[in-house]
Subunit: 486 residues, 2 copies
C-alpha cells in the first residue's frame, strides 16, 4: 500500500452533502470544504507555494485554519503548525529550525508573525489577502503517499530546545483507523474541538473527521459554558479534553447532565485525578482515558469502554495495530513493576527534523517515551509520571530545561532550576529556583525578562532565590529536591 | 507499516470478554476463541503443520472452521479454503495447483477429502482427531506482516480452470478498514454469516469481526426462516446476502419487519433485481448494494447509506482507499458510457498462484475486472454484466468454459457451448448445447458423466443437442447466440 486518494478529495466524492464543519451558526458540507480548499490551494500556488515546501501557519482556531490545512494538503506542502501562545523569539527558533519557505498568518497574529520572521528568509502570507483561485484539482495532489511527510510539529525538548516531530500521512491515517477500532464510528458522529489546531489533539480531530466522514464542531477557544451548550444544541457525540478542561466543564454543568447521544469524553494530556473521574462516573459521563503524545500522532493507548469503571485511572491498552511494554534497565518488567513506557506501531514518528542524534529514543522499532508507568496483571497501563520532569499545565507540555535555559540567558543569573507545583485550575504550574550573582535582580525583573522569551503559560508562578541548587556528585541538577527543605 | 499484532491475539488481549462467536445456543468470548485456537495451533504443529505450509480446509461452516482458520494464522500457514460443493475431481485440481502440504477436513467431508487426495502427496488431517496442545503462544505467530500471504482462494477462470487468488494479511486488513469507513462500526454490532466460510463473503466476516471486536453469528447453512429468527433473537445488526438469499428471506418474512436495531443488509454477488430492492424499500430494510470479487478481497464498491433510495440499483462508489474507473479501448470513458470496470486499491490481489501470464489483468496498479458497467454523472457505479459469460447462480460464480471443458471430456461429444437462463430461485442457471458424434449419448448419460466432475450447482439445467454450434469467422464460440433461433 503506497498511495491512496487525497482524503478530502475522496470524502467530498463519496459523501459531498454531509456536514464537514460547524462553527458558530455556520455549516460547511464536504463539497463546500473541498471547493474552498481547492480555491485556496490554487490561490496559494499563485503566491509561490509548492509541493514539498515547508509552510507554517500561525492562525487562530477556526474555519480558516481548516481550509489552510486542506489547501496545503492539496498542494502537497509540509505543514508546520505553530503555537500562537509562543513569543516571537520562540516562534523564530521553530521557523528557522523547520526551514520554512512560507508562514501563513491571519489578522489576529500578523504582528507576532511579522516579528517572528525578522532576519529570516521566510515569506509571510496573510490568509485574507491570498486571492482564491479556481476550484479545480488539476495540478494539485489528488493522490497521497502514506510515507509522505505531512507535518512537522514542535514539542518542547528535554534539552531545552523544541524538537520538530515529523509525521507522515500514514502516521495520521493509522491514528484515525486505530481510534475508530476502539471508539467505534458512527456516520452521524459530531466531534467537538475546543483544543488548539496547532496541537496534535486538534489537528487529529480535523484529519480523522475527513477520513470518517463525520462533522467537526469547531470552537475557536475553550469556554466551558459554550462547550456544554454546544454538546446539547449541536448534537455533539465526542469531545476531546484534558483534565483541566473537563473539571471546568463539570463545574459549569452543575447538576445538569449531558444528553444520552453524547458517547465519548476523550481525556488526554496526562493522568487524571481520581475525584474528577469519580464525578464523571456519578454523572454517567463516558470518559475514555488515553495516553499519547505528538510522537505517536495522538492517542496510542486508550481505555476500552467496557473497562471505564473497573479500571478507573488506567489509560487502557495499546490500540489495535500498536504495542506497549514497560522496560527497566533494558529488560521488560513483570506486572505491577514500574519502568519506562515504550510503544511500537504505525502511528509513531520516524524521528525529529534535523536531529539524527535523537535516534536513541527509537530502538528496534520501539519508541522510548521517557514516561513512567506500569501494567497491571491484565495488561492495563497506569501512567505514573510523564516524561522525566515534564510539567503539564492545562494540557500544554512544559519542559523545565527550556525555562532554565531562558533564565540562564540573564546576565545576573548563575544557576537556575525549575520544577512544578500542583495547582487547582491548570493541574501543574512551573516554579523556578535561581542563584543570583552578587548584583541585585528582582523576581519582577526576571519575569519581565522571561516574558519576552517564553510563552505566558511557561512563566514560573514564582521565583525563589537560593544560595545554591541541589546538584549530585556529577553536578547534575536534582530537580526533585528543589523546594524540598533540607 | 510492516507488521502488527496477530489479530485474534490482539483482540483477545484488548477485549477478552466480548462475545466473538454465537452458534446455535453457544457463545464463545474472544478469550475462549483465543484459547481454543492456540490449543489447536499447537495440536496442528505436533502433526507437522508449519509456518509457510499451504494448508487446505474442507469443512462444514461452523465453529470448527473458525478455530481452524485462527489456528492456521497462529502457525503462519497459508490458508486454502476449499468449496465442499465441488467434486473430488475438482478438489484434486485445486489441491494440486495450490501445492498443499496438508488438507484439514471434518467428519462430514472426510469421504470427499480422502478421494480428493488420491495420487497426491497431501497429508490428510481430521479436525476431531487432532489432539489439542497447550494454550500457549510461544513459537506461534503473535505478529503478522501485512505483505504476508494469508489465503489462496480459488475462483473459476474464464479459461475453464480455476485460478488461485493470492490474498495477503494486508488485503484482508484493508478490506475490513474500508468497509468500516463506509458502514460505520459499533462495538455492539453482530454480523450474521450464513454464507460459506470457504468463500470471500464468509471468510471476510470472520476476519473483520476479530479486527472490529464484534460478534459473528454463525449459521452452518442458509435457511431463510432460521436467519430471520436469528436477526430477531440474536440481536443481529448486519447480514451478508446475495439476491437469491434476500428474496427467500423476504418471502419467509411475509408481512413482518426486521427490528430497528438491524442496520445493514449487505447485498453482493451481482446486480440486484429492481422488484427486490423496491420491496426492501417498502419494508424499510437498509440494503447496501456492493460490488466486489475474490480478487478485491470482497466489496470494493458500496453504496453509502444516504444514497440507498436516490441511487437504487447502483453499487455505489469505491471505498475510501480505493479507486474506480470505466475503460473502453484503453481510454477512460465519460459518464453514462459503458465499458470495463477497473479498480485500484490496497485490497486487490497481487495475482494468481503460479499464473504469471495472467498479468494482463493488472496494469499500472489497476485491476481489470472484466465486468461491464458505467458511472452516472455523480460517479455512481451501475454494473451491467459481470465478467464476460459469467453465470451467477445463488451467489456462486460459474464459468461456462469450465462446464464446456468437462463436456468435451466425454468421448461422444464433438462440441459444447454453455450459457445461462434466468431462473426464479437462483437468479441464473447454466444450460448446455452440445454436438454429438454419430454414436448415441443421452442427456441423462451426460449429466451422470458431469456429476462426477462438476459440483452440483454447475450442472446444466438442460442439455440441448444441436448439429452445430454458432461460431464466428475465427471459429470462436458465440455463446450469446446459443439458444437463439436463427
Amino acid at each position: 500500500m503506497e498511495t491512496m486518494p487525497n482524503w478530502l478529495h475522496k470524502r467530498a466524492y463519496m459523501t459531498p452533502d454531509r456536514i464537514a464543519i460547524v462553527e458558530n451558526q455556520n455549516e460547511w458540507t464536504y463539497r463546500d470544504l473541498q471547493r474552498s480548499s481547492l480555491r485556496m490551494a490554487n490561490g496559494l500556488k499563485k503566491r509561490g507555494v509548492r509541493k514539498g515546501h515547508h509552510v507554517g501557519f500561525l492562525m487562530a482556531n477556526g474555519i480558516e485554519t481548516v481550509l489552510c490545512l486542506h489547501a496545503l494538503m492539496y498542494i502537497g506542502a509540509v505543514i508546520v503548525p505553530l503555537n500562537f501562545r509562543l513569543t516571537s523569539a520562540e516562534l523564530r527558533y521553530q521557523i528557522t529550525d523547520a526551514e520554512l519557505s512560507f508562514l501563513i498568518t491571519d489578522t489576529t497574529y500578523i504582528g507576532k508573525a511579522t516579528e517572528a520572521i525578522i532576519e529570516t528568509e521566510v515569506s509571510l502570507l496573510t490568509w485574507d489577502r491570498v486571492e482564491p483561485g479556481e476550484d479545480l484539482s488539476e495540478g494539485l495532489q489528488t493522490t497521497i503517499a502514506l510515507n509522505q511527510l505531512h507535518t512537522i510539529m514542535y514539542t518542547s525538548g528535554t534539552t531545552g530546545k523544541p524538537k520538530g516531530v515529523m509525521l507522515t500521512y500514514g502516521n495520521h491515517w493509522w491514528s484515525a483507523i486505530s481510534s475508530s477500532l476502539n471508539l467505534g464510528l458512527d456516520v452521524s458522529d459530531r466531534w467537538l474541538s475546543a483544543v488548539p489546531m496547532y496541537h496534535m489533539s486538534g489537528l487529529s480531530i480535523l484529519l480523522r473527521s475527513v477520513i470518517y466522514g463525520i462533522t467537526t464542531v469547531v470552537h475557536s477557544h475553550f469556554d466551558p459554558k459554550a462547550v456544554n451548550e454546544s454538546i446539547h444544541k449541536d448534537g455533539v457525540t465526542i469531545v476531546s479534553v484534558v483534565s483541566a478542561m473537563l473539571k471546568r466543564m463539570l463545574d459549569e454543568l452543575g447538576s445538569a447532565h449531558y444528553p444520552e447521544t453524547f458517547r465519548c469524553m476523550l481525556l488526554g494530556g496526562g493522568p487524571a485525578p481520581y475525584p474528577l473521574l469519580s464525578t464523571c462516573q456519578e454523572k454517567q459521563i463516558p470518559v475514555y482515558q488515553t495516553f499519547g503524545m505528538t510522537e505517536t500522532a495522538s492517542q496510542i493507548v486508550t481505555l476500552s469502554p467496557e473497562y471505564m469503571l473497573s479500571k478507573q485511572g488506567s489509560a487502557g491498552k495499546a490500540l489495535f495495530p500498536s504495542e506497549l511494554r514497560i522496560m527497566e534497565d533494558g529488560k521488560e518488567v513483570e506486572a505491577f513493576q514500574h519502568g519506562e513506557i515504550i510503544v511500537k506501531g504505525p502511528t509513531i514518528t520516524s524521528g525529529y527534523y534535523n536531529l539524527e542524534n535523537e535516534g536513541d529514543s527509537f530502538i528496534n522499532g520501539w519508541f522510548h517515551t521517557g514516561d513512567q508507568g506500569y501494567l497491571d496483571d491484565e495488561g492495563f497501563l497506569f501512567v505514573l509520571d510523564r516524561r522525566k520532569d515534564l510539567i503539564i499545565s492545562g494540557g500544554e507540555n512544559i519542559y523545565p530545561a527550556e525555562i532554565e535555559a531562558a533564565l540562564l540567558d540573564h546576565e545576573n543569573i548563575l544557576d537556575a532550576g525549575v520544577t512544578s507545583i500542583r495547582e487547582e485550575e491548570w493541574g501543574e504550574v512551573p516554579v523556578a529556583y535561581v542563584v543570583r550573582k552578587a548584583e541585585h535582580v528582582s523576581e519582577q525583573e526576571l519575569l519581565t525578562f522571561l516574558s519576552e522569551r517564553l510563552a505566558r503559560y511557561k512563566l514560573p508562578k514564582r521565583i525563589t532565590f537560593l544560595d545554591e541548587l541541589p546538584r549530585n556528585g556529577a553536578n547534575k541538577l536534582q530537580r526533585r529536591l528543589l523546594g524540598v527543605k533540607r
